[in-house]
């Protein structure tokens, strides 16, 4: 199942000649040390953003949604835009861990831990928006199908918003389980290295008494596969259902069957971009360049250019379909997207999402770290605009011109969004400090085949004749 040999032609997944001890040392050391100054600066900055977000939300809940700019025509604005944006970002993690695990993509090991953490934090951020966009948030629990004293009063199972509740809560639960189950062996490693009682106790609790026996490993692998199997449809279903919020409506620009694949592709697109942003920063700050290599970044850039192209195709398909449908309202909705008072948002979306990712067809650019970093941000700006375009520019000019209007956000709306960045980065900084940012045991798993040092030792094997090579490798395999 797992070859010990991997061709030298393949790029190593771990740079440098590492031993298992090196791997543990490199990845776990930052956890055991005092964090650097940059960590404190970043963490406090994140807390400030979070605080501002909390203030904005309290302000909104106390005074009412009227402190926002949304109105009788544009009922959803930055709130749901940000919701879909964060949910989209949350896709990459599970995709990397689940689908790439099933596809046996070794390169995912360097990035999956951080990507999964990102998923969980992003879903947490996303969840805030549908909660606090409710006019009466204190009654929000009515969307849950709980037995109740309000008579036989149940939620409306026809509503896509209700499907959202189930989809997102399931996704969050499974992602969290998946992430945590992978963390257990690494927590055990930290526990075993721990020098203080407190740390030993905490990581001991967190590792659930992991002893590293063969049975332990066997069960963990089985669990990982089961959860991967569960998560895979979820990756596709969550954003599909989010897209149903729009697709099941009657509003031109929303009511379209292309939405599920289009949303999923877009979500992966933005999710990978966000992973790039985070990993480029993490590998630099935590000195993990050997584990998160240029090769990893390139692999993800390839996914970005693929999904970016899918998204671009979807945009063009939408335009074509609106014309081809022959429906006046459909055609006009797209016309007003492109040419109406919000023209700039459409063009921002097109530039960031369709045009700029095409630059990743150049290998040089794919492997250029600063360029990748900039592109990762550009893509996420573009994807934010995509959601804005779908939500706001469909609503602002729909059927009756008499109801048309404009929408601009106000400070509590912006503050809420900023606050979710605060939440996200607060969590991420805590994660980077207390959790192994790279999956130690998974790196070790591929180290002996895909590590640079290992590959160097392949030299002698590579120089052997075909017969010799075959003989040796076959024998190896037979053992």
């Amino acid at each position: 199942m797992h070859l010990k040999y991997e061709s030298i032609v393949r790029e190593p997944l771990v740079d440098g000649d590492k031993t298992y001890a090196n791997v543990t040392e490199d990845i776990v050391r930052p956890i055991e040390q005092k964090p650097g100054r940059m960590w404190y600066v970043g963490f406090i900055f994140s807390l400030i953003l979070l605080g501002f977000g909390v203030f904005s939300v309290v302000w909104e809940v106390y005074w009412g949604i009227g402190v926002w700019g949304i109105n009788r025509t544009v009922g959803w604005g930055w709130d749901i835009t940000n919701f879909v944006w964060w949910i989209g970002i949350g896709h990459a993690g599970t995709l990397i861990s689940a689908i790439l695990l099933l596809f046996r993509q070794g390169w995912r090991t360097g990035v999956n831990r951080a990507a999964e953490a990102m998923t969980i934090f992003a879903v947490m951020c996303a969840g805030q928006f549908p909660i606090f966009h409710m006019g009466r948030v204190w009654d929000g629990f009515w969307v849950l199908p709980l037995p109740n004293t309000r008579g036989p009063l149940w939620p409306n199972f026809n509503s896509a918003l209700l499907w959202d509740v189930f989809a997102i809560s399931t996704y969050f639960t499974v992602s969290l389980l998946f992430w945590y189950s992978g963390l257990i062996p690494d927590f055990a490693t930290i526990r075993d290295r721990a020098k203080t009682k407190f740390r030993k106790r905490m990581y001991g609790l967190a590792s659930f008494g992991w002893t590293g026996t063969a049975k332990n490993w066997q069960r963990m692998e089985a669990l990982a596969l089961v959860l991967a199997g569960l998560s895979t449809p979820l990756v596709l279903s969550v954003h599909t259902i989010v897209s149903f919020d729009f697709a099941t409506s009657v509003i031109p620009g929303w009511h379209t069957t292309i939405f599920p694949p289009y949303f999923v592709a877009g979500a992966i697109f933005s999710g990978f971009a966000m992973v790039q942003t985070l990993l480029i920063l993490s590998r630099r700050i935590l000195n993990l360049e050997d584990y998160i290599t240029i090769g990893h970044l390139e692999a993800m850039n390839k996914v970005i250019v693929l999904t970016g192209s899918i998204v671009g195709t979807a945009y063009l398909t939408e335009l074509f379909m609106s014309w081809y449908s022959g429906v006046l309202y459909e055609q006009e909705a797209f016309k007003w997207r492109i040419l109406g008072p919000y023209w700039w948002s459409y063009w921002a979306m097109m530039t960031c999402n369709v045009v700029s990712p095409q630059l990743f067809w150049f290998k040089k650019l794919r492997r250029n770290v600063p360029f990748t970093f900039i592109m990762s941000i550009v893509v996420n700006i573009g994807m934010w605009f995509e959601r804005f375009v779908i939500i706001v520019t469909s609503l602002y000019r729909d059927y009756l011109p008499g109801s048309w209007t404009y929408y601009s956000p106000t400070w509590p709306e912006i503050g809420f969004y900023v606050g979710t960045f605060g939440l996200f980065f607060t969590c991420y900084f805590l994660f980077a400090k207390y959790f192994p940012v790279v999956a130690v045991h998974e790196i070790k798993f591929i180290l002996k085949t895909s590590g640079e040092g290992q590959k160097k030792r392949m030299d002698s094997i590579e120089q052997k004749s075909t017969e010799e090579f075959l003989h040796e490798q076959m024998e190896h395999a037979h053992h």
Partner: protein, 1051 residues
């Protein structure tokens, strides 16, 4: 006197020893609780005082803690005629100056909550206007004076009467009573008594917006200083020269009803009046017109003369082609008979020419009635000008100001003059601009608190009875005048006496009071008049008027605010979007798109959404006003129009006040009265003007930003000719959309599929309902409510909008939130322009009232995650406010965008403390006093829930319950929605569509050629249908790329 002895018992009588002992020793047993030690203590008294002190302090502290104040009136003794929860109705009369409407006051538990039209009146026929609907809010206006004032201090009526009578007695100079037109016969009698008491007294009548020109012209032409009765219903050709008779001119409530009666078109009855309209700005009357052209206000005289000449056979040569065309056509039509010309000018000469035309076309006696004259306006401008001069010279001893506000309307000149009058009395209901200058302010009752009467037309009377006892220490002005004239009777007695005598007995009086009107039986008599005016002089005078070359300003009344008065402080009216501009809370300079482009503010599909409007400097009549511009297609390119009623003093109330806020800048608009000029005979409401752009901007809260309906099939317009040639055009168009979905290819109806017609017949409609969806069809048994709205009849006047606000407790959100499009009106009127933006004469305007369509397949219903909005078996789309969690998904998914969210805590119905929204101008609505206007049958919605039109479900329930109690089905017309009742033009018909005899069923059947449903093709199955707009004109511009520039440019 015998010495009787009384005793309590035998012991006392016999006075035994035992008894004596008892008497001596009162406390024969030791007192419980008081031990000897306490009584013997050194300071028991002090302790007692300590206890007393402590408990008093404790009680005081406890009592001073805020406790909820519960205000409930226990009906231990039930007042006669009041059943809690059951409304009482009183016929009465709405009067504001000369504005008149016969009304019915709806009171609940003793307080008026709604005003409806009185259908018994042959004049207003149950119609109302936005102002009549809103008048009930004026009763509860927080800015009303709560007591009389003397020299700026509170006073009693006694003190005022004494002070004033002595002041008047010692006064040798004349007493001036300055009032608006008074149409009450008994009040006139009171005034006469008062004038008789003070021989040198003078009654000066003037109207804030004057009709002197007409009165004087009529005097010269017909020998009567009066206004005729107009019969728009009898007119086949109506020519209006700047008279906004459906909005603000003379008696719009009466005229709207008549006008719509002449325009009820069906495929079988193609009779329709033809309405020609010439104006300088854009009014709702212009919007309804069949042919419209614009001219500068200074050219109006020339247009009148041209029309006169055209009627007499001379071709016109006016500055614009369209005017010439209009005048030629109008003249030809007028000559056919049954014509009528009305003119909004206040110029005697122009009105004389108009009289000459009406005489030439024999309008007098057919459409213009001199047998029964109208008493709406009687003010003569020169009187008030002369009075002001006399006051300025110190020739006046006392000025009493009644129902007018000259310090605001006439302005500084009057205010300065008033200072020279020693005794100044105001009857104003609030400290308005004039009352502030008076040393006696004796507030009059609100009309809903008053007894009274009105004679809107000679011989046609209307009685006024109160709906509530006076809320404050106010006194009917008639009582004040009677008291000051030394009379001992009260006005109430005098009034009752007058009417009992006049009607001949108590029972007749009771009947009249119940009906609210006293009218001669039968049809209104018709009479002509002989024109005796000097037409030559008038035309010469008009020719001498030099038309100006530059810009001109027109001062106009908004349909909502009118001349100002108490209306300025009415938040319902302030927030009612102006029918044409859709702007709220401000006045502004209306300019044409072309002029705006010259000012650097081109109106495009992109810039239309900008709320910050450029401020211009407007100079006219020696005054300078800084006003934001609002672009109005249809305005003459060289005209700027400014509304009256704004720029009010802070003391008239918070909603109407204007001023400058440190943070927010200017608010409340600017006073346009100073732009009104005086030509030596009458006031002029237009002047040469200079405008200059500035760099400043000002935000105007406009509820509708887009002007064109983009050629979308949401409105269907036809010319009368098109409609008569092919009445089925609309049915065909609808059929093309829906017929193919009305059958399923595999269904039993395949046979029908073969002969599938393109007409939207009832069969096709039914098929579409059933087969246009995957879901099973729901059969509506019993009642199925439906509504029909006639776009031809709708004038956009907004009475329904305000009626809906009053009925359904709709929140006023204030300008800040209107700017964010967060207004709450359940019923909005979409206004669409079509035509070339640069050519005002091409603009055609159409109104579409839009409210919840109560879709039987409602997109809002299935998206609500908690089923807070759902469908009733009677076809109502209902809202369960309690269940709503406020996701706003339903509002997004509503194709009509008629759902409104409670963005803030508008009325203190929220569970959070102290978070009620306040903006400084709308807040009085939440005062305990103002909240008395709330309809107890309708929930006041809390923050965070969605709301929308309910088809006035409380009224439907009421009608159903009444019917149920009487054991019969609901009769057609028993359940009326508030909008339907308010409408002066009979646009709205409501009823049970399952009842084939109901009016709504009949309309949908008999007028099926005009019926359409908005967005029918998306299978929402609306329960509101519209009737197509039929315009008696040559061509419809809308949707025609070449002629509809607004559509082409997507503005």
């Amino acid at each position: 006197m015998s010495q009787k002895q009384y005793w309590k018992g035998l012991e006392e009588l016999q006075n035994t020893a035992a008894h004596q002992e008892v008497v001596d020793n009162e406390f024969k047993e030791p007192l419980p609780g008081i031990s000897d030690s306490l009584l013997d203590a050194t300071t028991p008294r002090r302790d007692f005082l300590k206890f007393l002190g402590f408990s008093t302090v404790a009680a005081t502290l406890a009592a001073s803690c805020e406790m909820p104040v519960r205000k409930a009136i226990p009906y231990a003794i039930k007042p006669e005629d009041i059943v809690p929860g059951v409304p009482n109705y009183y016929a009465s009369t709405f009067v504001d100056g000369g504005d008149y409407c016969a009304i019915v006051i709806k009171t609940r538990d003793g307080r008026p909550i709604k005003v409806e039209g009185n259908t018994l009146s042959s004049i207003t026929k149950g119609s109302t206007s936005a102002r009549v609907q809103a008048s009930v809010l004026n009763l509860y206006d927080k800015a009303r004076l709560r007591q009389p004032m003397m020299d700026g201090k509170e006073a009693t009526f006694d003190a005022i009467d004494r002070g004033l009578q002595s002041a008047l007695a010692s006064n040798t100079k004349p007493v001036y009573l300055i009032s608006s037109t008074i149409i009450s016969p008994t009040s006139k009698e009171v005034i006469n008594q008062f004038l008789a008491k003070y021989p040198n007294a003078k009654h000066i009548v003037y109207d804030a917006v004057s009709y002197s020109g007409m009165l004087l012209a009529n005097e010269a032409s017909y020998g009567k200083r009066a206004l005729p009765s107009y019969h728009f219903d009898k007119a086949k050709t109506i020519v209006s020269l700047g008279a906004d008779f459906l909005g603000t001119w003379l008696a719009p409530v009466e005229f709207s009803k008549q006008y719509s009666a002449g325009r009820k078109v069906t495929a079988k009855n193609l009779e329709m009046s033809k309405h020609y309209h010439v104006e300088s700005m854009h009014t709702i009357t212009g919007a309804s017109a069949d042919m419209r052209a614009t001219c500068k206000p200074s050219e109006m005289g020339a247009v009148a003369v041209a029309l006169y000449n055209a009627v007499n056979g001379t071709a016109p040569s006016l500055p614009s082609k369209k005017l010439n065309e209009l005048v030629t056509k109008a003249a030809a039509d007028l000559k056919k008979g049954n014509g009528m010309v009305v003119c909004g000018s206040n110029d005697v000469n122009i009105q004389t020419v108009v009289n000459a035309i009406n005489s030439a076309i024999n309008a007098n006696g057919t459409t213009i009635n001199w047998a029964v004259t109208s008493n709406y306006k009687a003010g003569i401008d020169s009187d008030i000008v002369a009075a002001t001069e006399a006051m300025a010279k110190g020739e006046v001893g006392a000025a009493m100001i009644l129902g007018v506000n000259p310090a605001y309307e006439i302005g500084k000149k009057f205010a300065d003059a008033l200072k020279n009058v020693p005794v100044r009395v105001s009857f104003a209901d609030r400290m308005d601009e004039t009352a502030q200058l008076c040393n006696y302010v004796v507030p009059d009752h609100n009309y809903l608190e008053s007894w009274g009467d009105a004679e809107p037309k000679t011989g046609y009377y209307s009685l006024m009875q109160p709906g509530i006892a006076p809320l404050f220490k106010t006194r009917a002005y008639q009582d004040s005048l009677l008291a000051w004239s030394g009379s001992t009777t009260t006005y109430g007695d005098m009034w009752k006496n007058y009417w009992t005598t006049k009607l001949g007995g108590q029972s007749n009086f009771d009947k009249a009071l119940q009906d609210g009107i006293v009218e001669p039986a039968g049809e209104m008599p018709m009479g002509g008049g002989t024109f005796a005016g000097n037409i030559a002089n008038a035309t010469a005078a008009i020719a001498a008027m030099k038309p100006t070359s530059g810009m001109e300003v027109v001062v106009y009344q908004k349909v909502s605010i009118g001349h100002g008065g108490a209306w300025s402080n009415n938040p319902w009216l302030q927030e009612m979007p102006d029918p044409i501009t859709k702007a709220t809370w401000d006045n502004y300079a209306c300019v044409s798109p072309k002029k705006a482009k010259e000012l650097g503010e081109e109106l495009t599909g992109i810039t239309e959404v900008v709320t910050k409007k450029r401020v211009i400097k407007l100079e006219a009549n020696g005054q300078t006003l800084m006003l934001p511009i609002v672009v109005v297609p249809g305005m003459h390119n060289d005209v700027v129009a400014v509304a009256l009623g704004y720029g009010r003093d802070a003391q008239i109330g918070r909603a109407g006040a204007s001023g400058t806020d440190k943070l927010k800048g200017d608010f409340g608009g600017k006073n346009a009265y100073p732009l009104v000029g005086y030509n030596g005979q009458t006031f002029t409401y237009n002047a040469a003007a200079k405008i200059e752009k500035t760099d400043a901007t000002y935000e105007v809260g406009i509820t509708q930003t887009h002007h064109s309906y983009e050629g979308r099939p949401i409105i269907h317009e036809f010319t009368l000719e098109e409609f008569s040639k092919d009445p089925n055009a609309l049915l065909k168009e609808r059929g093309e959309e829906i017929a193919k979905y009305s059958v399923v290819p595999w269904g039993e109806h395949e046979a029908h599929g073969e002969k599938k017609e393109e007409l939207a017949t009832q069969e096709v409609e039914e098929g579409f309902r059933k087969e246009g969806t995957l879901y099973p069809n729901y059969e509506h048994m019993g009642i199925h409510w439906g509504m029909s709205i006639d776009l031809t009849a709708c004038t956009g006047c907004g009475a329904c909008v305000v009626g809906c606000m009053a009925e359904n407790n709709i929140s006023v959100v204030g300008k800040t939130h209107v700017l964010k499009s967060q207004e709450m009106h359940w019923l909005r009127i979409d206004r669409y322009f079509s035509g070339m933006p640069d050519d005002p004469d091409t603009i055609q305007t159409v109104f579409q009232p839009m409210m919840c369509q109560h879709c039987d397949n409602a997109p809002c219903e299935n998206v609500c995650p908690v089923s807070a909005t759902n469908h009733s078996s009677e076809g109502l789309n209902q809202m369960a406010y309690n269940r709503c969690i406020g996701t706003k998904y339903c509002a997004n998914n509503c194709p009509y965008k008629v759902r409104h969210f409670n963005w803030m805590d508008w009325n203190g119905a929220d569970c959070f403390d102290d978070n009620q929204y306040e903006d400084g101008r709308r807040d009085d609505l939440n005062d305990d006093l103002t909240r008395m206007v709330l309809n107890p049958d309708v929930t006041v919605r809390s923050r965070g829930v969605m709301e929308k039109c309910s088809f006035c479900v409380q009224r439907l329930q009421d009608a159903k319950l009444t019917a149920k109690k009487e054991g019969r089905p609901v009769k057609d017309g028993e359940a009326k929605t508030a909008c339907q009742q308010a409408c002066a033009s009979d646009c709205i018909v409501f009823g049970n569509v399952n009842d084939p005899e109901s009016e709504i069923s009949k309309i949908r059947k008999d007028n099926k050629e005009r019926v359409f449903y908005v967005l029918e093709q998306i299978h929402t199955l609306p329960n509101v249908n519209y009737l197509s707009k039929i315009r008696n004109t040559d061509e419809i511009w809308a949707g025609n790329e070449e002629k509809d520039g607004l559509y082409k440019a997507h503005i």
